[in-house]
């Protein structure tokens, strides 16, 4: 039987090109070579699979030249036509993790080649991509290499062979929102007793079914004097200047926009529109104030009901946008609003 063909993606550090000073190393294809962690994979594959090529790319290069790097690497992978694509493991290296997740997801999505990556749970790339590709849980540094490879290699082979992948807890990947049955070693009642004993003793335990996420936020105290407050508008309704200059996606937005409304007192059909898909945009496009009420707030500003409308508004598209992305946008936006001395925000959606 022919060996399974694997293409492996690693960064400049694991390719021993260099450290941070070499992080701008452009994507490079090394045909017929297993490099760094690739050797550990090769050893684990035994005769069943071989790394037919390794792609090395600097972390800064990848993240700063995202579109080009992605395009170039996809072309390299397409040309090699592997049965499976492995990225990392990235452990706790943030930019490397994001690069691994991004490229692995792209290979799987755009080339239809199954992909697997691995990293530490707190690596930002984990949350971003664990629902798109199989993301193996690793330790937080390269001392966990052997362990990471021992989980990623068999999973990659299963994917290459089209075999059924077991539950996350069996295979070692991060839970990805898809529930998979498996036979545990102990019956449920015994597991329940063990879990209760841990819970009673205040020890860590892991629920078998995490409840849907209830991310409830405590409301802030009310504003005492609205007439001196600086109010900002933030929306997930996709209101953007006409032409959508930053190309915010109509669904699964990967970015948000920041726009100046100094001197704007009304959003008109000629100046603003919505980038949001998934709802009938006619009324929003006709009068974007219906989603982002700049006109009413200018009135209130004039009347002295509010102190000031903040000169910048923030906007993204809520349609299909992942909670992780939304959280990341919100954290950045909130920091900016705080820095600008905004007292309160009106959040609108569609």
């Amino acid at each position: 039987m022919a060996k399974i063909k694997v293409v492996h993606y690693i960064n400049q550090f694991f390719a021993q090109v260099g450290g941070e000073e070499k992080a701008d190393y452009p994507a490079e294809l090394r045909i017929g070579e297993a490099v760094g962690p690739g050797l550990a994979f090769a050893a684990n594959f035994k005769d069943e699979a071989e790394i037919i090529a390794t792609i090395v790319c600097g972390d800064s290069y990848f993240n700063e030249n995202l579109e080009k790097a992605k395009k170039d690497i996809l072309a390299m992978v397409r040309e090699q036509a592997p049965d499976v694509f492995i990225a990392g493991p990235a452990f706790n290296a943030g930019r490397y993790g994001v690069a691994c997740g991004t490229i692995a997801a792209a290979v799987q999505e755009e080339l239809g080649i199954p992909a697997v990556s691995g990293m530490y749970v707190e690596n930002p790339g984990a949350d971003m991509f664990k629902n798109q590709i199989y993301m193996v849980v690793t330790k937080n540094n390269a001392a966990g290499m052997r362990d990471a490879v021992s989980k990623m290699a068999p999973l990659a082979l299963k994917l290459a062979k089209g075999e059924t992948v077991g539950a996350s807890v069996e295979e070692g990947y991060m839970p990805n929102g898809t529930r998979v049955n498996f036979f545990d070693k102990k019956r449920g009642s015994e597991r329940a007793v063990q879990m209760l004993l841990k819970k009673l003793a205040g020890k860590a335990f892991e629920t078998e079914y995490p409840m849907p996420n209830f991310d409830r936020v405590e409301p802030s105290p009310p504003i005492k004097d609205l007439s001196h407050a600086k109010i900002a508008l933030v929306t997930s309704g996709g209101i953007v200047p006409k032409g959508n200059p930053d190309h915010i996606e109509s669904s699964s937005a990967s970015r948000y926009g920041e726009y100046d409304i100094t001197g704007v007192s009304d959003l008109t059909e000629d100046t603003y529109e919505t980038a949001h898909g998934g709802y009938d945009p006619v009324y929003a496009n006709k009068d974007a104030d219906r989603v982002l009420p700049v006109d009413v707030l200018r009135d209130l500003e004039k009347e002295g009901a509010i102190g000031k409308l903040h000169n910048l508004f923030y906007t993204t598209v809520g349609n299909g946008t992942s909670v992780a992305s939304a959280k990341a946008f919100a954290a950045e936006i909130a920091a900016k609003l705080k820095k600008d001395g905004v007292d309160a925000v009106i959040l609108t959606s569609t």
Binding site: N181, D184, R191, M195, L196, K199, L200, R216
Partner: protein, 426 residues
């Protein structure tokens, strides 16, 4: 309260002229067993069959599974208030025939569920592929109403199980196990350092084919109450439940309730097993509220530190489960809940019909929507007529080669919510 359980291991079942147990073999006189089953004039006929682990046999539609037992010492008899006279059970000495079960089957309604495969992939999912099964297929007299039929089959199964159990009365058990709980005061004095733990069992209680009985009382009509956990071992709780094959509790599960047994395992070692609280799962929302209020109240009165809550059935019991969990946690008592999931065939749907952040310790019996292919087996006990119409069976159910494509929900006991099985999901 102290109950000594004597286990008699049954290694084979055979039909014979005379009913008896000899050297681990159960000999059943079909004629005598038939007479016991047909004491009820609502039943027209009954046929007996034997299904052994590994045999190419499919039993369907299964109604109940029962383990034969006999009360040899102490108050009352097996299935009090139903087969035996009303008397509080759970103390003295009881013998159980291990490794076997009486399985009742028969079409009560047109969509009757429940498959037990004795071999193949289906056998991995049902706990009753591992028992020697004495199967009785009951047919009712013409023109009978479904609720009368259900009752007739339910009672016939229990009568036959008691008849078989009686055969063991004078035998010497292969193994003996003692289950003993303390009174409140004794427990506090004896185990001052151990956490006080109870078991909250939710019983399906909604209407025809959805009912459970406690000492003969329809569980819809109870308010939550306290049992000594040994009571269930004498058949204090029986099943009148025929829907949701995968996650209903057959009488066998009540008799062998795994939470009760596993808590007894730890009793006096890591915890003090204080008792069992039973509650119901009614249709009317205000009744759900009352029952969960009462359950939490009883937990508080018992000064508990922790409870395990088990569920039965699909859909609305998710609400009872969450209400119980939330209210008990609000009393400062730690909970672990046992449920199963309906996450869709692709595993991507929301698993439960209700949720709360308080439910942070969940044990799952698996996704009941998971598809499984059951190959054609040589023999069918009961009828396959309804298989294409049972829960989880879809367009492609009966495939060209005679195999069945079904969801786990049709398999008896597959995703049991008392934690009877090893199946889980992540």
């Amino acid at each position: 309260m102290r109950l000594e359980m004597g286990y008699i291991y049954i290694k084979d079942i055979q039909f014979s002229g005379e009913s008896k147990i000899e050297d681990g073999t159960l000999y059943v006189s079909e004629e005598s067993a038939k007479a016991v089953a047909l004491e009820d004039e609502k039943l027209k006929s009954v046929s007996f069959d034997i299904a052994r682990p590994g045999e190419s046999i499919r039993i369907t539609p299964v109604k109940d599974v029962i383990e034969p037992r006999v009360k040899v010492e102490g108050r009352g008899g097996i299935f009090p208030g139903v087969i035996s006279k009303i008397d509080t059970v759970g103390e003295g000495k009881t013998y159980a025939l291990k490794g076997m079960a009486v399985v009742t089957a028969g079409k009560i309604v047109g969509f009757q569920e429940g498959i037990i495969d004795m071999t193949g992939p289906g056998a991995d999912y049902t706990p009753f592929s591992k028992t020697l099964n004495l199967v009785m297929v009951c047919e009712a007299v013409d023109g009978i109403e479904p609720h009368e039929y259900e009752k007739a089959v339910r009672l016939a199964g229990l009568r036959v199980a008691v008849y078989i159990g009686e055969l063991a009365r004078t035998l010497t058990p292969d193994e003996t196990k003692v289950y003993e709980t303390c009174t409140l005061k004794e427990g506090i004095e004896k185990y001052p350092e151990l956490p006080r733990v109870a078991y909250v069992q939710m019983l399906q209680s909604q209407g025809l084919l959805h009912d459970t009985y406690v000492y003969g009382v329809d569980a819809k009509r109870i308010v939550p109450t306290i049992l000594n956990p040994t009571e269930i071992m004498d058949g204090a709780i029986i099943s009148g439940n025929c829907v949701s094959a995968c996650d209903k509790n057959p009488t066998y599960v009540h008799l062998n309730n795994p939470v009760v047994h596993d808590l007894f395992e730890q009793h006096g070692k890591t915890l003090n097993f204080v008792g069992q609280i039973i509650t119901n799962e009614n249709v009317y929302l205000a009744e759900k509220q009352r029952s969960s209020d009462w359950t939490a109240k009883l937990c508080k009165i018992l000064d508990l530190d922790g409870v395990i809550i088990s569920q039965e059935g699909f859909g609305n019991p998710d609400t009872d489960l969450i209400m119980n969990c939330k209210k008990i946690e609000a009393e400062g008592i730690k909970t672990v809940i046992i449920t199963d999931e309906y996450a869709g065939r692709d595993g991507k749907s929301q698993s439960l019909a209700d949720a709360d952040a308080a439910a942070d310790a969940v044990i799952t019996g698996g996704n009941a929507n998971q598809v499984v292919i059951l190959p054609k087996l040589n023999k069918v006990i009961g009828t396959l007529d309804y298989v294409t119409k049972i829960a989880g069976a879809s367009e492609e159910t009966l495939r060209g080669d005679g195999s069945l494509e079904v969801e786990l929900q049709v398999i008896t006991g597959a995703t049991n919510e008392t934690g009877f099985n090893c199946l889980s999901a992540r």
